[in-house]
Symmetry: C2
C-alpha cells in the first residue's frame, strides 16, 4: 500500500514535470520563427538541390553548419553514393490540329529522345490498365495519361495518380508506344507542370515521358473530344551520369541511455523550384525541434539523432545507406519520425503500429490538444526515408498535416518560400517537438513497426 502510494506520488511528479517540459517546448516553438528562418536560409542561399548537383553539395555544407550552430554533437557527413540524373532541356510541341508549345517537364529519370524528338499522334488513357488494353492501337503512338488528381487533406489524392507516373512509360512501351505524356500529379492551375520520379522495367524498351500542366492536359483532351487527330513532338535531353559522392548530414543530442530516437527530413529537392515545402519545411521542423530540446538543458533519456537524408526524391539513396551504415545499432532505434509533408497545419500523428501503440501515442500528444493535434491513425508507411529501417527496431511515425495545398506546388517551379505560412509552421514544430520529446523520455519502449507489407 505504502509502496503503491510512493509510486503514485512519483508518477504524478514525473507526469507533472513532463507536462511542464511539453508546455515549454510548445511555447518555445510558438515564440520563435527559427524553423522558417532555416528554410529561408536554405532556399535563398542554396535553392534547388537535386541529389548529385552542386546545390546538393552546398546543402550538405549548410546542414552541417546549422547543426553546429544549434549545438548538436557528433555532427558529420555520412557518405552516400547517389545516382546523378541531369535534365538539359525538354519540350512538347502540339503540331496539329493547331501549333502550340505546351508546358511540360521531363519526369525524373526519363531517357532522352533523339535530338529531333519523337513525333506521333497521341492516344489518351486514364489508367495503366487502359493502356494495356490498347493493343495495336498504341503502336507508334505517344500515350497520354490523363487521370486528374483529387485535392485531399492527405496523401490519398496523390496516391491515386502517382502509380501512373512511376510505371506509365514502361506500360506504354510494352504496347509499342514511342513516347508518353502524363497529366501532372498536381492540383494547381497556372501552367505549372510537376516533375517526379519514374522507373523503367529493364525488360522493355525505354521511352521518354514528360508531365504536362493541367491546362495543357485539358487542351489535348478537348481536341481529342472534338474528334481531332492530335500530333505532338516530344523532345527530352537528359541523361544519367553515373554515381557521385554525397552525404547524409547527421548530428545528435546525447542521451542518458544507449537507445536512440531518430528524427529526419530530406535535404535534397527536385531540380526545379527551390524545395521550400518539399522538403525545406521538414528540415526546418526537425532542426528547430533539436534546437528547442537542447534549450531545455536536460539530457534526454534517449539520444535524439537528427538525420538530413540525401536523395529521398530519386531513389532513397541516403535512407538505404543509413540502414547499412547503422545496421548494428538499428535495434537501439526505439522510434523514428520523418517530417516530409510540407508546412501545413498539424492535426495528428500517423503511426505504423497497433491499437495499444496508438493509445500510447495519444497520451504523448495530449499536450497538443490546444493546437488541434489530436488524431492518431494507423499507417503502413510513415515516411519514405524510414522504409529501409522499418522492421529493424523503431516504431515509425509522422505528423498528420493538412496537405490540401501541398500538391499545388510540390515538384514544381512554384515550390518557393512564400508557400509556407510562418505561423502554421510553428505549430508543426511544436507538435513535432512535443512528440519527439515524449518518445525520447518514455520509460517503456513502443513495439517495433512491422516492415512494409
Amino acid at each position: 500500500m505504502k509502496r503503491l502510494l510512493v509510486a503514485c506520488m512519483l508518477c504524478a511528479t514525473v507526469a507533472h514535470a513532463e507536462d511542464k517540459r511539453a508546455r515549454a517546448l510548445l511555447d518555445g516553438a510558438m515564440a520563435s520563427s527559427s524553423a522558417y528562418d532555416y528554410v529561408r536560409e536554405l532556399v535563398d542561399t542554396v535553392g534547388a538541390r537535386k541529389a548529385g548537383s552542386v546545390g546538393a553539395a552546398h546543402a550538405v555544407e549548410w546542414g552541417v553548419q546549422v547543426m553546429q550552430r544549434i549545438g548538436l554533437r557528433n555532427v558529420r557527413r555520412e557518405p552516400v553514393k547517389v545516382p546523378k540524373w541531369v535534365r538539359t532541356a525538354e519540350s512538347v510541341e502540339l503540331l496539329s490540329p493547331i501549333a502550340r508549345r505546351l508546358h511540360a517537364v521531363a519526369l525524373g529519370g526519363s531517357v532522352a529522345t533523339p535530338p529531333d524528338g519523337v513525333t506521333a499522334e497521341i492516344v489518351e488513357v486514364t489508367s495503366l490498365e487502359a493502356v494495356r488494353q490498347l493493343g495495336d492501337r498504341a503502336k507508334g503512338k505517344i500515350i497520354f495519361f490523363n487521370k486528374p488528381m483529387s485535392r485531399t487533406v492527405d496523401f490519398m489524392g496523390y496516391e491515386g495518380v502517382v502509380g501512373i507516373r512511376g510505371h506509365g512509360a514502361t506500360e506504354a512501351a510494352k504496347v509499342g508506344a514511342v513516347g508518353a505524356l502524363y497529366r501532372s500529379a498536381g492540383t494547381a492551375r497556372g501552367q505549372v507542370p510537376h516533375t517526379g520520379m519514374m522507373r523503367y522495367d529493364e525488360a522493355f524498351p525505354k521511352i521518354a515521358i514528360a508531365a504536362l500542366s493541367l491546362e495543357d492536359a485539358d487542351l489535348l483532351h478537348r481536341l481529342l473530344e472534338a474528334n481531332k487527330s492530335v500530333r505532338v513532338r516530344l523532345k527530352i535531353a537528359a541523361e544519367w551520369q553515373g554515381e557521385v559522392d554525397s552525404a547524409n548530414v547527421v548530428g545528435e543530442i546525447a542521451g542518458r541511455e544507449p537507445e536512440l530516437v531518430l528524427i529526419g527530413c530530406h535535404l535534397d529537392s527536385w531540380d526545379i523550384g527551390t524545395g521550400a515545402i518539399d522538403d525545406g519545411a521538414g528540415c526546418g521542423i526537425v532542426l528547430d525541434t533539436a534546437r528547442l530540446i537542447l534549450a531545455q538543458h536536460e539530457k534526454p533519456r534517449r539520444t535524439i539523432r537528427v538525420v538530413l537524408f540525401m536523395n529521398e526524391e530519386h531513389g532513397l539513396s541516403g535512407a538505404k545507406a543509413y540502414a547499412v551504415t547503422h545496421k548494428s545499432e538499428l535495434a537501439l532505434h526505439t522510434a523514428a519520425l520523418e517530417a516530409d509533408a510540407g508546412a501545413g497545419r498539424p492535426y495528428g500523428v500517423y503511426v505504423a503500429g497497433e491499437g495499444p501503440t496508438l493509445e500510447r501515442v495519444k497520451e504523448m500528444i495530449a499536450p497538443l490538444s490546444s493546437l488541434g493535434v489530436t488524431d492518431v491513425k494507423k499507417t503502413d508507411e510513415a515516411g519514405a526515408d524510414l522504409i529501409p529501417i522499418q522492421g529493424a527496431g523503431p516504431v515509425v511515425m509522422s505528423l498528420m498535416q493538412d496537405m490540401t495545398q501541398y500538391f499545388d506546388w510540390h515538384h514544381t517551379e512554384g515550390d518557393t518560400l512564400d508557400k509556407i505560412d510562418p505561423e502554421t509552421l510553428k505549430k508543426a514544430v511544436a507538435a513535432f517537438a512535443v512528440l519527439t520529446h515524449a518518445l525520447s523520455e518514455s520509460p517503456t519502449r513502443l513495439p517495433a513497426s512491422p516492415p512494409l507489407p
Copy 2:
C-alpha cells in the same frame, strides 16, 4: 381621364411584353452553352492573337464566320492599322548573391536590350514618386518596382499598380537607370509573370522593362532585406515592326429606327496565353447576346451593332478607327456596352451617367434580380474601346462582374479556357442580353455620357 386610362393600359401591356421578352432572353441564356462554345472555338482553334500577328488575322476570319453563322447582317471587316510589336525572347538572371533564372516576361512595347543584356545592381521602390526621389542612387542601376497588387472584386486592385507598369520605365530612365523590373500586376502564385502595355515618353531614353512573377519579386525583396547587393542581367529581344493591316469585325441586327446600340468586346489578346478571359469571354458574351436577340424573331427598335474590336491591348487601334470611320453616325449611337471584364459572376452595371440615368438603368435590369444583378454604379469609363466614342453620343456602360480571380490569369500563360466557369458565363450573357435588349427598345434615349475627364 379616358385618354390617361388608355395610355396606362397600353403602358401595362408594353411593360408586360417587355417582361416576357426579358424573361425569354434570360431563360435562353441559361439554357445554352453557346457563349462558352464560342470562346472554346476561339481559344482552341486560334489561341493567342496579338494585334498584327497571324493569330489575330485568323481571329478576324473566325469572327466573320461566327457572325454569319449566327445570322447577323452586314457582316464586314472594317480596316484598322495596328502597330506590330513582336517579342522574341526575354530573360532575367539573378547573378548574385546567388545565381538563378527568374520568371519574367517583357512588358508589351519594351525596347530590346543589347544582345548581352544589361547587367546591374537593383534598387527597390514601391512607387513612381519613390523612383523620382532616388536621384543619383538610380544611376546605372536596374530599378525594381515592387508594389504588391491587392485582390479586389473590381478593377481597384489593378488600378493601384497599373500606372507603374505604364510609366515605370520612363521614370526610371529619367534618373539614369539602365533597366527596370516590375512586380507583375497579378494576384496568383505559381511563377506566372503578367505582361501588359507600357509606354515611353519620347523625351527620355528608352530602357527595357520586364515583369517578374510574384515569387521572384518576393525573392529579390528578401535578398535586399538581408542587406545583400543584388545583381541581375536583363535581356529582352523584341521590336516594333511598323504598322500592318488588320480589322474590326462588325455585324448587325437591323432595327426599326435609325438609331443604334453598340455592343462590343476585343478580339485581340496578348501574345502569351490564349486570351480566354481577356477577352474571349467578352466576345462570347457579346456574340451570344446577338444570337439570343435574333432568336426572338422581332426587329428591335434600334439597330444592334456588334463590334469585335482589334487591338484593345496595345493602343486601342480598332476603337480609334471605329470612331473615325463612323464619325458621321456617332450621334445615332444611343448606347454602347463593352464586355471586357472576364467571365465572373455579374452583379450590376457601371454607367457613365448621372442619377436619373442610373435610375433608368435600374429599371432596365429589374428582370435580373433573380440572378443577383441589382447594383448600378456611376463610372467615368465603361470600357477602353468605348473611350474614343465617349462624349460623341452614346451612354456607355458595362457589366459589373466579380473580378476576384480575374487578375490571377489575365495577360499570362494561364489565361486558358479552364478559367471560365460555363454556368457563371451564362449568367453574364443573360445580364448582358437583357440590358442590351432594354437599351435597344427603350422608347426614350438616355443622355450621352460625357467624355473622359
